[in-house]
C-alpha cells in the first residue's frame, strides 16, 4: 500500500531534474539497501515491517537492519521488475485477484535473496506484523512465514471504526508492545531494550516531523512550491521508512525545509522531472496511492497541463503529522501506540471524507482526484462514496481514475490521460461558471 520512492539509479541522470533534497533522499534509501546487503556480513539481524504504523524507532533500539516490503515492491515497480515477479508469483499459485505488492514481493523472494538494487536482500530474521489499516498485511507476512519460516510477532492495531482512538485501543497496543513485541525483539536480536535510547530516537522523529509538516503545508501558497503527491513521495520516504528517528533524517528535513522555504520566497512552483513547473493552472487534492510502474509518465500528465497536487491522502499513510501528531519521548510507548492507530488507512470512511474536505478548503483546491488502485482494497473500497460525499460537501468537481501499484498490466496511459484531460476541462468550466455567477 505504501512507500518510499527513489529513482532506479544512484547516478544523477542528465535528463531528470530534482531538488537537492530529492537527491539526498535517494542516497538515504540506497544507504538502507546497502545496510541490508551487508547485514549478514556484519552479523546484524534483519527485521521486516510495513510502512503504516511502522515502529522504526523501536526496531533501531535492537540494532536491526530494517526492510520494508512495500518499499521493496515499489522500487521493483519503478525499475520495471515487478511485472515478472508478479507473474512468477501467480505461476506459484497466487490469485490474479490479490494485491500486487504481495505478489511482487513473493516473486522477488522466489528469485533468491536479491533486492531491487541488485544487492543482496537477506530473508528477515523477524517479521514485525503491525497490520495497521490493511488486512492484506496479515496474509502477506503469514505467506512469507509459511514459505521461509521467519519468526513473526504480531502487533494488532485496532481500527478507528468510530473515528476516534478510544483509551482501550491505546492500552491494548501498549500492552502488546510491553508484553509481546519488545520481549520478542530482545530475544531475537540479543539486545536489551533501553527505553532512554527509544526516547532519543523519538526526539529526532519529532524534529523531522515538524519540518515535514512545514514542507507539506507550504502547498497552501500560490503557486505551490511542491507537488503534494508525486513530489511528496520523495519527501515522506525517509520518515515513513527506515530513517525516522535518525539524525540523518533530521538533517534531510532541515535541508528540505530550507529549500522549500526558498522556493516560497522566490514564488516558484514545484520541481518536476523536466525542471520547474510552468504556470499553476489547477490545484488538486488526490486520494489513493500512485502508480509506480509508470510513475514519471503519470506525473507528466499532470504537470504538462499545469496541474499541481496540493495535498494527498497517500502522503499520510505513514502518519497524520499535519493534524498534530508528534512522537512524544516523554510517553514513548503510548506515543508509538497513538502513531500506529492514527495512520490514514486506519481511519474510518467518515473521517477520511472530513479530512479530504478540509484539505480542499485549506489548500484552496479546485477539486478531488481519486486514483483507485486495483490492488488496494483498504484504500479503494468506498472511494466512490467518498467522491460523492466530497463533491456534495465542497461543491468542487471530483474525478476517478483506475491504475495499480506495481502491476504494469493495469496502467493504461491513454485512458488515464483522457480522463485527466476531461477532468481539467470540467474544472475550468466549473471555475468559469462560478466566476460568472458572482
Amino acid at each position: 500500500m505504501t512507500t518510499a520512492a527513489t529513482p532506479p539509479s544512484s547516478k544523477k541522470p542528465q535528463n531528470v531534474q530534482k531538488e537537492d533534497a530529492m537527491w539526498l533522499q535517494k542516497e538515504l534509501i540506497n544507504k538502507n539497501y546497502m545496510e541490508l546487503a551487508t547485514a549478514r556480513a556484519e552479523n546484524r539481524k534483519v527485521s521486516a515491517t510495513f510502512v503504516p504504523g511502522n515502529l522504526n524507532e523501536l526496531l533501531m533500539c535492537f540494532d536491526f537492519a530494517r526492510s520494508l516490503p512495500e518499499t521493496n515492491a515499489l522500487q521493483n515497480g519503478m525499475r520495471k521488475k515487478s511485472g515478472k515477479f508478479i507473474m512468477d508469483a501467480e505461476r506459484e499459485g497466487q490469485s490474479e485477484d490479490v494485491c500486487t505488492y504481495v505478489k511482487a514481493d513473493l516473486g522477488m523472494m522466489q528469485g533468491g535473496e536479491i533486492g531491487p538494487t541488485g544487492d543482496p536482500l537477506p530473508t528477515p530474521d523477524v517479521l514485525l506484523l503491525s497490520y495497521t489499516g490493511c488486512f492484506t498485511f496479515m496474509k502477506w507476512f503469514e505467506l512469507i512465514r509459511h514459505k521461509y519460516g521467519c519468526e513473526t510477532v504480531m502487533l494488532h492495531v485496532p481500527y478507528q471504526g468510530e473515528g476516534k482512538i478510544a483509551p482501550n485501543m491505546r492500552d491494548y497496543v501498549v500492552r502488546q508492545l510491553k508484553d509481546t513485541v519488545i520481549p520478542t525483539l530482545e530475544r531475537i536480536s540479543g539486545v536489551k531494550f533501553d527505553i532512554d535510547r527509544l526516547r532519543e530516537y523519538m526526539k529526532e522523529s519529532a524534529k523531522a516531523e515538524e519540518n515535514l509538516v512545514r514542507v507539506l503545508q507550504s502547498a497552501k501558497n500560490r503557486p505551490s512550491p511542491i507537488d503534494g503527491y508525486f513530489g511528496a513521495v520523495y519527501y515522506i520516504g525517509p520518515i515513513f521508512t527506515a530513517f525516522r528517528g535518525t539524525k540523518e533524517a533530521s538533517q534531510y528535513y532541515d535541508v528540505l525545509r530550507s529549500e522549500i522555504d526558498e522556493r516560497v520566497r522566490l514564488g516558484k512552483g514545484p520541481v518536476t522531472p523536466d525542471g520547474d513547473m510552468g504556470e499553476e493552472k489547477y490545484r488538486l487534492v488526490v486520494e489513493g496511492p500512485p502508480n509506480w510502474t509508470s510513475f514519471r509518465d503519470f506525473w507528466k500528465m499532470f504537470y504538462e497541463e499545469g496541474a499541481v497536487v496540493v495535498s494527498s491522502t497517500y502522503a499520510k499513510v505513514g502518519g497524520l503529522y499535519d493534524f498534530g501528531f508528534r512522537h512524544d519521548p516523554d510517553h514513548p510507548l503510548e506515543s508509538l501506540a497513538e502513531y500506529c492507530l492514527g495512520c490514514y488507512t486506519n481511519l474510518n470512511l467518515p473521517s477520511r471524507v472530513d479530512m479530504i474536505c478540509k484539505y480542499i478548503e485549506e489548500y484552496q483546491a479546485d477539486g478531488l482526484l481519486i486514483n483507485s488502485i486495483k490492488s488496494c482494497n483498504s484504500f479503494s473500497a468506498g472511494q466512490l462514496l467518498i467522491l460523492r460525499e466530497v463533491e456534495k460537501r465542497t461543491g468542487r468537481p471530483a474525478a476517478f481514475i483506475e491504475t495499480d501499484l506495481v502491476d504494469p498490466r493495469y496502467f493504461s496511459a491513454a485512458n488515464v490521460k483522457n480522463r485527466l484531460e476531461s477532468y481539467f476541462q470540467m474544472v475550468k468550466q466549473k471555475r468559469g461558471a462560478m466566476a460568472g455567477a458572482h
Binding site: S95, T136, E142, L143, Y159, R175, S378
Partner: protein
C-alpha cells in the same frame, strides 16, 4: 408428543426464508410484540449472545445472492471488488433492510471494514458498529481488549432498548446459543455420517434459516430436520467425500452447491456461516459472561483466513481436522472472486494439504454466478479422479 413435519416441508420453509430478500420473517418477529428490535451482522463472527440478551433478533446479512438485481450497489464499487458489499448496499438502498435497527460489521477484511464507514455515512439513523476482535490471544492482552469491546456493544445495545443488559441475561443467552451450537454440531455429525440423508443443499438452507430466526426456534428446526430426514431412507451413492473451504463470507449460489453434489461429491464439511459454530464447545453460562465469551474466542474458536494463526504450524490444522473428522480426504477450494483473505490463504492451505497428501481442486465464484457447467465439470472430474485413482 410433538410431531415432526416431513423433511420436504422443513426444507421448503427454509427455502422460503432463503428466497425472501424482504426479510419478512424479521418483520413478523418484530411485529409480534411492541418495541422489538433487530440487529443485522455480516460475516464472519459477532457475539450474537449480546444481541439476544438485549431481547433483540440478530439477523445475518450475507448479501443478495443470485436473485437480487444489483443496480445502485454497483455504482458504489469498482469492478475489482467482490460482490457481497454491492448487493448489501443494494439491499439497504432499496429499503429491504429498513427492518433492522442497527448493523454490525465484523473484522474480516478491508472491504467489510470500509463498508461499516459507508453505512455510517449512508444510513445515519441506524446504529452502526465495527466489531474488532483480537489477533492477540493472551487473556490479559487480547482478551482484555475484546472484553472492553464487548462492554461497549453491551452498553450501546442496552441504550438502544432503554435498559442495561445484566449478567444474568447474558448468561441465559449464552445457554441458548450453547444449545444452538450443540444442534449445529449434531447436524454436522449427522451429515458426515450419512451425507446421502442430509445433502448440503438442504443442510445449508436449514443452517441459513438461523440467520433470520430466533436461536431457540432455529435449534428446534435443525433437530426436526435431522429427525425428519432420518425417517425417510434415501439412496446412497458412490460419491467422493469432500470439504468445501473459502466460502466463509460471500455465499455461493445454492445452485453451485447443488452442482457440486450432482457432479458426484458428498460435501461433509464446509465453512459456510461460521458464526453458527465459531465457538467450538460449550461456553460456561454461570460465570462472568463477557470473560467467558472472550476465553472461548481466544482459545476454543474456529480458524479462518480472517483470523491470524499465531504459529506457523497452526496453519491449515483446522482444515485438516475437518478433513479427518469428516472422513473426507479431499478439499474443494471455492472462494469468491476478489476475496483477499480467502485467496491469499489458499496457497498456504494447499501447501499444507499437499504435505499431508490430501488432494484438492480450486475455483472461484460470485454470489450471482449463473454458469454452473464449468464448475460441475471441474468438480465432477475431481470426484471421478478420486474414485478412479484413490487407493481408498
Amino acid at each position: 408428543m410433538k410431531t415432526v413435519p416431513p423433511v420436504n416441508e422443513i426444507v421448503e420453509r427454509c427455502q422460503t426464508l432463503f428466497d425472501d430478500l424482504d426479510f419478512n420473517a424479521v418483520k413478523q418477529w418484530k411485529a409480534a410484540a411492541p418495541g422489538r428490535k433487530a440487529i443485522g451482522y455480516m460475516p464472519v463472527y459477532v457475539p450474537r449472545e449480546l444481541i439476544h440478551a438485549a431481547g433483540m433478533l440478530s439477523v445475518g446479512i450475507l448479501g443478495g445472492g443470485d436473485q437480487l438485481e444489483v443496480i445502485q450497489g454497483d455504482a458504489y464499487y469498482q469492478s475489482y471488488i467482490c460482490r457481497i458489499p454491492r448487493s448489501t448496499i443494494e439491499l439497504g438502498l432499496t429499503g429491504r433492510l429498513d427492518c433492522l435497527d442497527g448493523m454490525l460489521f465484523p473484522s474480516i477484511c478491508d472491504v467489510i471494514r470500509n463498508l461499516s464507514g459507508m453505512w455510517q455515512l449512508m444510513f445515519k439513523d441506524k446504529y452502526v458498529r465495527y466489531i474488532d476482535v483480537p489477533q492477540n490471544y493472551e487473556d490479559a492482552i487480547g482478551g482484555k481488549f475484546y472484553v472492553d469491546e464487548m462492554e461497549i456493544l453491551r452498553k450501546d445495545l442496552g441504550e438502544l432498548r432503554g435498559k442495561p443488559i445484566t449478567d444474568e441475561e447474558l448468561n441465559a443467552s449464552i445457554a441458548v446459543y450453547n444449545e444452538n451450537r450443540k444442534a449445529v454440531r449434531e447436524r454436522n455429525a449427522y451429515r458426515a455420517a450419512k451425507p446421502w440423508q442430509a445433502p448440503t443443499s438442504e443442510v445449508y438452507l436449514v443452517l441459513r434459516a438461523g440467520m433470520v430466526l430466533p436461536p431457540e426456534e432455529h435449534t428446534q428446526l435443525m433437530r426436526d430436520y435431522i429427525a425428519a430426514t432420518d425417517a425417510v431412507p434415501r439412496q446412497r451413492r458412490d460419491n467422493a467425500r469432500i470439504v468445501i473451504n473459502g466460502s466463509f463470507c460471500e455465499q455461493p449460489p445454492l445452485n453451485l452447491i447443488k452442482s457440486i453434489e450432482m457432479s458426484g461429491c458428498y460435501i461433509v464439511d464446509d465453512d459456510f456461516m461460521l458464526v453458527t459454530r465459531w465457538l467450538l464447545d460449550e461456553v460456561p453460562a454461570n460465570g462472568k459472561p463477557l470473560e467467558e465469551l472472550s476465553k472461548a474466542f481466544l482459545h476454543r474458536s474456529a480458524s479462518t483466513a480472517a483470523k491470524y494463526d499465531a504459529k506457523r504450524e497452526d496453519k491449515g490444522q483446522y482444515l485438516l481436522h475437518q478433513v479427518k473428522s469428516g472422513a473426507a480426504g479431499r478439499v474443494v477450494f471455492a472462494a469468491p472472486s476478489f476475496c483477499d483473505p480467502a485467496l491469499l490463504e489458499r496457497p498456504m492451505l494447499q501447501d499444507v494439504l499437499a504435505k499431508h497428501k490430501v488432494p484438492y481442486t480450486a475455483f472461484k465464484y460470485a454470489e450471482n454466478t449463473g454458469q454452473m457447467a464449468p464448475i460441475r465439470e471441474q468438480s465432477g472430474t475431481f470426484a471421478d479422479s478420486i474414485k478412479l485413482w484413490s487407493a481408498a
